[in-house]
Symmetry: D2
Subunit: 445 residues, 4 copies
């Protein structure tokens, strides 16, 4: 057992941290103020300030680009488009690095490591045809375009993917997309060109083979960004979250990823590392919030003492320290499981962190807000936006409750459930019993 | 012991509820959308839609106007300007009524019962000169103007009022105001005409006689609304929260409320009922959030069940039911204590509810958000704004921690603290000991 | 609305409190030490010390006897056997009084108001025949005998009463009892003479008419107290909790309460007020624990300060103050609902308090333990026993979760559940749908 | 980064687990029942059953003996007295092994790895003279005698070690011990021969050089075990917790460990690894409780479902899974810090786990209790005793709050506290200011 990061991870993490501290944070307040000012004046607040592009260039020049590219799968692209050292990182190594990116809302974009582009690029890497990779993956890796993910729907409980109402109907050599999606992150960016769409293709197929994933150019006829959403009052420019309608959008079947009916399989693979990335960035975000809390509470005085020394504040700060440390180890361990036994073997661990880390981050940020007084809820500190982001991640990529359900399923699997019906109503036939147990199994997902 | 509301409270509460349900809620979404649309277009989002004025007229015509006016003190004004029945309500009766107003963000304004106008009107009622009452109280009661409260400051921990840096210096028959205030609620409304300003007048006086409260017209030279603040991303139009600078603002000393040095005394009286009002509205807000949670979770289906029936959702809803019910009784009891023994006797109770109810409301609203999925954090439901409001009230009018300190002080008063120094270091002189204990007393506030 | 207790309740509460403070608490440590000493020596620790009987006599002489007797139903007995004033108390009045009894583990017995005797006496009062009342109720009211309740079973989840395996089979003019019960409180007392037994009589009847309640003399052939149980290490002498086996116990059918098949109906009526009594005593217990916490934390010093002033202790004490106050109002309100609308109308309220108050008491006692350091977990303070009692009440009379289920059922009743099957699988017939909804209703109990 | 245990740790952990599962757990219920039965009969419940000695012999024969012996320091003894492989384990390796011992209350004693013997042996190893090692360490390593630790006192808040009232006064070539100690674990065992006593020697010395540690034979004149304490009702035979008085106990100065005045230094070194051991055993205990919870909740049925599937139970089980996993990683990381940077560098980490893990264990065990219904609080399951043990560890070796204070001190060290006095009262001299800050530093310990 060795808790020290690998030399490569340590080196990259330190360089990313230095970049965030010295290049991004100094300009971040001005970038955010400029966005807010444009928004307040009714101007277009979506194009990022030119400095963001400059930062991207500098990050790339330093080899701090596309660091998310997975070891093994992304090495060729890593050599061409980015990562210092020329080979992809393990999930464990990337987790160490991603934490540092979580400290700034701009950093993931600056390092070309922001959701949902990372997930979309991974999907293209693993499942894209050569043509699809050339058309979409390469410009994404190059930072020339951005992408969005079209999965969640406003009209149904999307935590249950089988509820999905959007369709991707095959019609000869075309696929026709219809539906309405929302929380399509990235859709606000002026460079957003493509969406990864998920829809129902064949209701008659096995329940995990009914849906397809389709690459849809956002300028295709019938695609319309209906509006940009706020999450707890935040537009999160320059990426944002769109509500997107698709009305009889016709595309060649070559737009389908990996062939019809493979959406669930692709989504499964996409979301594992993505959840680890989210959680690791949340560790960095919580760590940043704790630093702000420490700074503020030691530099402001009330009732003759630094605020930190009043009432239970020191204990709360200590508990935040503990919670972050436990969560960090938990995420690193999940990443290590992904590296050592793969997604199938790490399902419980990935769901564990996804159920626990966003809530932890909310708690730490909320403490920081409280210690900042009125300033904490204002735009003068990054805390209100941080809270909105962390809170939204208790819903995005599966709400806490769904992940707890996955954890429980793994936990209880070794324990034989009793044949419940026979216990309570002895006369029940075995047919009914197995029906009941099938329902339970369903309920337990 | 009788938990039934008085006939008058029951009648008014029912009429207010009916008004909220049938007159306000049907137009509320459109009013809020219109504000958001103007804001998005860079137009002035602060003037309320004409329908708000119409609603005010109808509420007033029904005697549902200025219901906050306190029994005894406000009866004359109640007869002239509002309350059905012609006499002010007890705190207990008003609490029952105010809960219903908390259900809608527009309702308090519609009934002329919104903070900080209510507190300012109470101050004018109790401490205002005839001239001050005529100039400011009457148009406020009439709904012709609005007001703000200039107390909290951006540069110090304002939870400790002795930190205050703003000054109200006497200069002959003038008083000169300097300082910077923020979280001045109401400052965004186009009709906002006057602020109740608190500043240091005489550092040499007894610590609770150093500050003065001054009525400052917002169009006085030197007064400037620097910006409107967001609270967790919400501008809260049409009232909003301003940051206001005062630069050598000269006013006649007749602008001082009750004479120089009486600000603490006035603030004390102002904040007791105000905190009860806030808490009671939060009960209504939490109740509304719970209703939305029940509606959504019984009408959306995932994994073959209404969301309510998944995992721990029913238990969480039940716990929310319990928390609201306990909090409501707690607030009503505090109001009853205010009525029966006065502010001095109800200090612990008022701080108890102020420390507990906003957190309770946050928890219930957060549950409702979670049960709404992505919709919960969006602007499609009133939950994001509700959360922002409830969360801000964990800071406004004294952060939770300060109120817990008050509760602890009352709780521990009967228990003699040990002469601590003498226990640990027997040689200590009594002088040092009492110094230590004085410091402790200070620390315990 | 009036939060003041009635003059009669105030008077009785004060007299009970005085009795507890001046008569019981001074002898309590010695009584408990004597029990522990006998137990340690392997002697019979169950007979209470003679002083307990003396205290009972004095309480009775002061009219502080059988105060639990319900207004209306118990007035005759109240006049004959106890309550000062000669008429039973309302639930609201008794709640105020019962709180004071909760301060001492001996007090309920001293005032003849201990569980399960109170519940058993109420059952006899409402459902007992004249003969049953003469045989069992009168000596119970007189304090000459004690009783136990034989409901919970070791071999099944007794939170679901339909799981019950014990039987009460009719055989001519006899009823034959078989089964094993545990957590039969009171069974350890040497004067315990009778148990109220619940068993299955007719599986073919309506599900709430299958069980009977039978009065079983503990000296009937076939009844055997297998052992006395510990609850978190406590035997709780002199009442205790027994495990009792019944092996072909034959009794005349006149032993059945209210006739065969009425056990559920009786249990329902029995448990409502009983839960309020438990909760109210827990308020007194928590209040006592908080007092001990305040005393200890202001009288011990560490790091140069009274412990109360270290870290978050004052805040925790304040939160305990808040939690008790909210819980007290909640219980009083539930009692008032019982008085004004009856058990059927107060189901949610009774379950609300039963789900919330024991946990609150555990939390407050746990805080008191922590502030006492090692002493807190020892027998030198009543806290370890108090914790055991409060913790056990999260299970007794229905675990928290069952009561939360009741609260949720009431809360969600007004919201129409969707026809779930039709949403997810459009082809489903209405027959299946209503089957699903019946199952849901079942699940929601 | 590598989360896999070392081959040696994996091997030993598996062998210990197998031993616990196949040798200890089968006899454990009978051992505990026998103790309880002797206690109930008033017989001596302290001598362990003969099978415990047999188990010790078998464990030793398998090299599963004295596994706690630290790498480097204990290798010689490890080769002579125990550990398979002949060399001591790192803290990280031992943590993995100790978790398995935490599954059974008997296991630590069986493997000669129980507190406080382990800590006492470590102290003797590091600080003992050759004579002291021969007299006490060797028989302890051999399992021929047991020991106790005489530090905590009943009459003062022992969380602040400077409160200590016991004395160890030098008198020529003798040291004279006086005082009263409690929570002296191990004192109940019939083989307990020696105590490690801490007392004040020289009040005039530097505050961390005033106290001495002395090896006191329990049969020395003046030593008296006043009583054995219960912790939440548990005597914890065969080790137990004693209250011990020392009345003018005269010993040669050669009984002093490492010389007079070095008690704080020794205690510091003793407690670091000890706290990691406690925490790691608690992980095993919590894991065992979770297994029992899963077994019970899947094998009992209520309302037609396994209890696991009712209400929020699956979510709670999942949260327990998460909490244990986070805590385990946290403890392993703290152990790794001890190994890699030593006690001084791992202070925050050790206090983090000590503040977090006992509470986590309490929560998990409490959940298991709740899922067991009435059985959970009884002696039929090991849960009541487990809860008592975990709860006591929130007090033993420093209460949670003291450890949170240590964590906060480390967390806030980099942040300069403001010169508070100068902010609030500008005229204060620097002398007063630094006095204030010294006081703060003191307060922050």
């Amino acid at each position: 057992m060795d808790f020290a990061p690998s030399p490569r991870a340590a080196d990259l993490a330190e360089r990313v941290r230095t970049f965030v501290d010295t290049e991004i944070e100094p300009v971040e307040p001005e970038v955010l103020r400029d966005i807010a000012a444009r928004r307040a004046r009714g101007e277009d607040s979506w194009p990022p300030a030119p400095v963001v592009g400059e930062l991207q260039g500098r990050a790339r020049a330093q080899g701090l680009w596309n660091l998310f590219l997975p070891a093994g799968h992304g090495d060729g692209y890593a050599a061409r488009f980015g990562t210092d050292g020329g080979a992809g990182l393990t999930n464990t190594d990337y987790a160490t690095v991603a934490e540092q990116m979580g400290r700034s809302p701009l950093a993931p974009l600056v390092f070309n490591c922001n959701a949902p582009d990372t997930g979309n690029m991974e999907v293209l890497l693993k499942y894209g045809s050569a043509e699809q990779q050339q058309q979409w993956l390469e410009p994404l890796l190059d930072g020339r375009i951005r992408s969005t993910f079209l999965m969640t729907e406003p009209d149904v409980a999307s935590s249950d993917a089988t509820n999905m109402q959007a369709t991707a109907v095959l019609d000869g050599d075309e696929v026709v997309l219809d539906g309405r999606k929302w929380w399509s992150t990235g859709a606000g960016h002026p460079d957003c060109r493509v969406g990864v769409f998920m829809g129902l293709t064949d209701r008659g197929a096995h329940r995990h083979r009914q849906h397809s994933m389709v690459l849809v150019p956002l300028d295709a006829p019938g695609v319309r960004i209906e509006r940009m959403l706020t999450a707890l009052g935040q537009y999160d420019e320059p990426l944002g979250h769109g509500e997107v309608s698709l009305d009889a959008v016709r595309l060649p079947t070559s737009s389908i990823l990996a062939g019809p009916g493979r959406a669930f399989e692709i989504a499964q693979g996409r979301l594992g590392p993505g959840r680890v990335h989210h959680c690791m960035r949340l560790i960095g975000l919580a760590e940043k919030a704790l630093e702000l809390a420490c700074e503020r509470s030691t530099s402001r005085v009330a009732f003759g003492k630094p605020i930190a020394n009043l009432g239970g504040n020191r204990e709360r700060l200590a508990r935040a320290r503990i919670a972050i440390n436990q969560a960090r180890l938990h995420v690193l361990h999940a990443a290590w499981k992904l590296d050592t036994v793969g997604i199938a073997g790490a399902q419980s661990e990935v769901s564990e962190i996804k159920a626990a880390v966003p809530q932890m981050a909310c708690d730490v940020i909320d403490l920081a807000i409280q210690l900042h007084g009125g300033g904490g809820v204002s735009e003068d500190f990054p805390l209100a936006a941080a809270y909105a982001g962390a809170r939204s991640l208790r819903l995005a990529d599966g709400p806490d409750e769904v992940h707890l359900g996955v954890v429980a399923r793994h936990l209880l699997r070794p324990y034989a459930a009793p044949a419940t019906a026979s216990v309570t109503t002895p006369g029940t036939t075995s047919g009914t019993t197995s029906g009941t147990r099938a329902a339970e199994r369903e309920a337990s997902r």
